[in-house]
């Protein structure tokens, strides 16, 4: 069942009176329970693409549809995790998560917020402020805030790139655990990343983008058993294949 479909999506900006194509003619679709990654050289429009999917930006041409309905603005079914964590410095962990639930009644939002704080392992840190947390813990808050709205699609915009490798690995595994436990939403993961290893590790498919204007030049299916063995030869064959396409 197709959850998300992009058809000929293009986005251009005019900078200093000049029209610049950021992404061009992007078409693909994502099925339920699929995890895909988008990789490509710096400045190829990966982030623009993910923001268009989130409904934060409107495409200049083409159409994004989510469960058959066109997306023109953010919908409750799609949430996003940011590279910079995007936490409000004056709010506690609890209040930061609650921020995503303010359109719900008070009791429900308190219960939900606490449940998801617990789920990402921040039990006991509800009253801490972001500046008191490590990078990994900050991103856990970001994850809790995104999944507490129970989105069907979770977008991750380079979510681990500012974290140390150990923390990044832990978080990756936890997100995958949440994803494959199936009792929980989301149904679709879309990750933008710089790291090819990361992409091969977490995705069923990798979309490789070209230099600007960003187009999809390859759609690679990763046919490896899960959880993936990062030391296996097959794993590295995929890594090499994708890396060769980018450089």
């Amino acid at each position: 069942m197709v959850e998300l479909r992009l058809k000929n999506v293009s986005k251009s900006l005019s900078i200093h009176e000049r029209k610049i194509d950021i992404i061009k003619d992007i078409s693909f679709s994502v099925k339920k329970r699929e995890s895909i990654s988008i990789v490509g050289p710096s400045g190829c429009g990966k982030t623009t693409l993910i923001r268009v999917i989130a409904g934060l930006e409107k495409p200049t041409k083409g159409k994004v549809s989510f469960k058959g309905k066109q997306i023109t603005e953010p919908t409750p079914g799609i949430m996003m995790i940011f590279q910079s964590f995007a936490l409000l410095p004056w709010k506690t962990v609890f209040e930061n998560v609650e921020l995503a639930l303010l359109d719900k009644p008070k009791e429900e939002r308190e219960k939900t917020a606490l449940r998801y704080i617990d789920l990402v392992g921040l039990d006991g840190f509800e009253e801490s402020y972001p500046r008191e947390l490590s990078g990994g813990m900050k991103q856990r808050v970001g994850i809790a805030r995104a999944i507490c709205r129970e989105p069907e699609i979770l977008l991750l915009d380079e979510p681990f790139s500012t974290l140390d490798p150990l923390t990044a690995n832990n978080l990756k595994n936890e997100i995958l655990r949440l994803f494959y436990s199936k009792r929980l939403r989301p149904d679709v993961l879309i990750t933008v990343t710089h790291s090819v290893e990361e992409a091969v590790y977490i995705s069923d498919r990798i979309l490789v983008m070209s230099q600007r204007p960003g187009k999809i030049i390859e759609d690679i299916k990763i046919d490896l058993p899960k959880p993936r063995d990062i030391r296996s030869k097959e794993f590295y064959e995929y890594v090499d294949k994708v890396t060769a396409l980018i450089t």
Partner: protein, 537 residues
């Protein structure tokens, strides 16, 4: 705290010693002045925050209003006097003179907050707006959870500048001369004005003392605690270590504010959302195309020049014609440039010296805060006694005028530069020790370029403030004797004080001032600011 009480004690003794029984009036003056300042500030706050948030979110409004407000902020307070007198003093059934004073103080307070609010909305990270957008935070929820806390640091620093400006122009506000009327309202400002004009040196100094006591007190008990809190609301990590523990009173006010906030959000979310959406105050970042503000500046420019020419050609006034207006503008502008150069040199030196030294800052900041608030009129006696008597009438008045102009220009530069010094990342400064640069090279290659944005921002404010200060620097009254020099500020004063007030001269003068501001901003500072944008960290 102890030093402050000591200062109050000494001041009280001096007041009683020199004024005798008259000193009893001082607390009354202070409370009247204080109420006016608070009223003007409250209006400024509401006006600036609502307009600022709107402008920062609405591209079209921004393009059209920003240049207009930029010019309005530089129009001298005296230019608003005719409106204040005609509409408020003569128009309002009661309290007309009070309203006029509050209005005039408002015009000297509001811009600093307004431009800070616009800046504050801009520095809220885009990802935060995205989160708000994705989480369906709209209307009052967006306002109370994201916008207002986000602009808090800028509102506090803008408010401090606003109060400084308010004190500086208090004299003009409380002692309004229009035609052959003098509207003098009991207060600290009119006390200072009367002391200076009547040549009472001791009373003038006491007036400065009272003002200093007020400024220091408010800084100590209001701004310092509020400033401490700004670190909580900053998105960058700067100043983390200074964050203090919250005290009882602050926490109590917090709780009260929270309950009001949630009450408003519960009751008015619907209507709030409709209204704010109509004003396009929402977290969406796609707001349509912005047209170039330059175009509007040009249009505005014409809108000023054409009426000015009409005024000069079709209406007769004895005070001014085209050539004398040009001459006065040249005189005023050259004085401003001299004063600006002096200000830039000393403030750069001081900012580089103390900007990153917490101990020295703590020592000097209160002095600077008081300095910023001392009105030019309050130093008339000192200037006259020292400068004019020493150098004589001609050159003496020129020097006096430039010194007085400095009082209205230098602080803006200084505060901007100090803030600029503090925001240079430590690793950039460490570069100079790694490369073993000597002081001169360090300043030339690292500190000055890093300070360029602050210099540009400070210079814009300084020229605005300077133009404002011309009205109190080109016409000095001391001991009932008049010292004046040719210039736009003097002309404006004369035009307002002849009977009947000479509106043609008044407006010609205002238009000429506007042309100066627009030209300097457009041709000099905006360009430098554009270069400086590239130097931001």
């Amino acid at each position: 705290m102890r030093n402050y009480l000591l200062f109050l004690g000494i001041l009280a003794v001096l007041l009683v010693y020199f004024m005798g029984g008259d000193a009893i009036a001082i607390p009354y003056f202070i409370s009247r002045t204080f109420l006016r300042m608070i009223a003007a500030y409250a209006i400024s706050l509401v006006f600036s925050i609502s307009l600022g948030i709107f402008i920062a979110h609405h591209r079209k409004a921004y393009t059209i209003l920003f240049p207009i407000l930029d010019i309005l902020q530089s129009i001298p307070i005296l230019a608003f006097l005719p409106f204040a007198v005609i509409f408020l003093i003569e128009g309002a059934p009661i309290l007309g003179d009070e309203l006029a004073t509050v209005f005039l103080i408002f015009t000297s307070m509001t811009w600093a907050i307004l431009f800070n609010v616009i800046e504050g909305v801009k520095v809220i990270p885009n990802t935060i707006k995205d989160v708000a957008h994705l989480s369906n935070l709209r209307g009052l929820r967006y306002l109370f959870h994201v916008l207002l806390p986000g602009i808090y640091p800028q509102v506090v620093s803008g408010s401090m500048t606003a109060w400084g400006g308010g004190w500086y122009f208090l004299v003009v506000g409380e002692y309004m001369i229009f035609g052959d009327h003098v509207y003098s309202l009991p207060g600290v400002g009119s006390f200072i004005a009367q002391s200076a004009y009547s040549g009472n040196l001791v009373y003038s100094l006491l007036g400065i003392g009272i003002l200093a006591a007020l400024v220091l007190g408010i800084n100590r008990f209001v701004w310092q605690p509020l400033l401490m809190r700004t670190y909580k609301y900053r998105y960058d990590q700067y100043g983390d270590e200074i964050m203090g523990k919250e005290k009882g009173m602050v926490l109590f006010l917090d709780k009260k504010y929270d309950s009001v906030k949630f009450f408003l959000m519960d009751r008015f979310q619907g209507i709030g959302e409709t209204v704010l959406k109509a004003l396009s105050v929402d977290p969406s970042r796609e707001k349509g195309k912005a047209s170039e503000p330059i175009v509007y500046t040009v249009v505005l420019f014409l809108l000023v020049i054409i009426p000015l020419l009409l005024l000069l050609f079709y209406f007769k006034t004895d005070l001014v014609d085209g050539w004398t207006l040009l001459y006065y503008s040249g005189r005023t502008l050259s004085r401003m440039i001299i004063a600006y150069t002096i200000a830039l040199v000393w403030t750069l030196g001081v900012a580089i010296w103390i900007g990153r030294n917490r101990k020295l800052l703590k020592m000097f900041m209160p002095i600077f805060d008081v300095g910023q608030s001392i009105p030019a009129v309050a130093v008339f006696p000192i200037i006259v006694v020292v400068v004019i008597h020493f150098f004589g009438g001609g050159i003496g008045i020129e020097i006096a005028s430039i010194l007085l102009l400095l009082t209205g220009m230098q602080w803006y530069l200084l505060f901007n530069l100090i803030r600029g010094m503090q925001t240079i990342p430590a690793d950039i400064l460490e570069l100079s020790s790694i490369f073993k640069l000597n002081n001169l090279k360090r300043i030339k290659h690292i500190v000055l370029p890093a300070l360029l944005p602050a210099i540009a921002a400070g210079s814009i404010e300084a020229f605005g403030g300077g133009l404002n200060a011309t009205i109190v620097s080109e016409r000095i009254i001391y001991d009932n004797q008049l010292y004046y020099t040719d210039g736009l500020g003097n002309l404006l004063q004369v035009a307002a004080s002849v009977e009947p007030p000479d509106m043609v001269a008044l407006f010609s003068c205002i238009f000429a001032m506007m042309i100066i501001v627009i030209s300097i901003n457009k041709f000099v500072w905006r360009r430098i600011l554009k270069i400086a944008e590239g130097y931001k960290f």
